[in-house]
Amino acid sequence: MAQPHSPAIRRYTRRLTAFMAAYVALILAMGWLFRHAPPPAPWNAALAILPALPILGVIWTVMRLLVEETDEFWRMLFIRQTLIATGFCLTVMTIWEFLQNYDVVPQGQHGFGTAFFWFMGLGLGAIWNGIDLRRQRSEP
């Protein structure tokens, strides 16, 4: 998501940086903890959820951008980007689920969860928006 210099984008970038830093710290810390000193129940559930919280923060950050961006054209582009991300994520996860249902691929996600594909979809949406903007620029 890249409209330069708008206050909403600056807030988005600050929030995204903070949540991603928290995510990296928590995923490394929980990985180490569960390998070397697995916590007992119910603490294991609470601690296992911790790295998911910054991911929820990132999703909140994206939604806040849609609310806070005052330029309606850019807001439309960001909404299209999130719709592309949601569509891509749902498509991949639905196909994957059926492949697993019929034992075509192994069970489990091997670290590639729903959020991973949604973020990948945001990247695809950004590429789509970029192509669209370049096409507009090249028109007379």
């Binding site: 409209q3 708008s6 330029d71 309606e72 054209f73 850019w74 439309m76 669209d132 903007l133 507009q136 620029r137 028109e139």
Partner: protein, 63 residues
């Protein structure tokens, strides 16, 4: 929706950036509206009409 924004802007010697600043939107917004890729909201259409001192229907035309 067609519009004559580019002509009105050119008559005043404004660049897309000049118009964008007057409307408090991005230059890309002005470009998208001029090229018909994006139809502005009613509030923005009124701001454009006010800026050029013309009714909305004189600026934005049916396809």
């Amino acid at each position: 929706m067609n519009n004559c924004l580019r002509i009105l802007r050119a008559e005043r010697g404004w660049s897309q950036q000049d118009l964008a600043e007057r409307l408090e939107v991005s230059r890309q917004s002005v470009n998208a509206i001029e090229t018909g890729k994006y139809d502005p909201s009613l509030p923005l259409a009124f701001r454009i009409a006010d800026l050029f001192a013309q009714p909305i229907e004189a600026i934005f035309l049916r396809d």
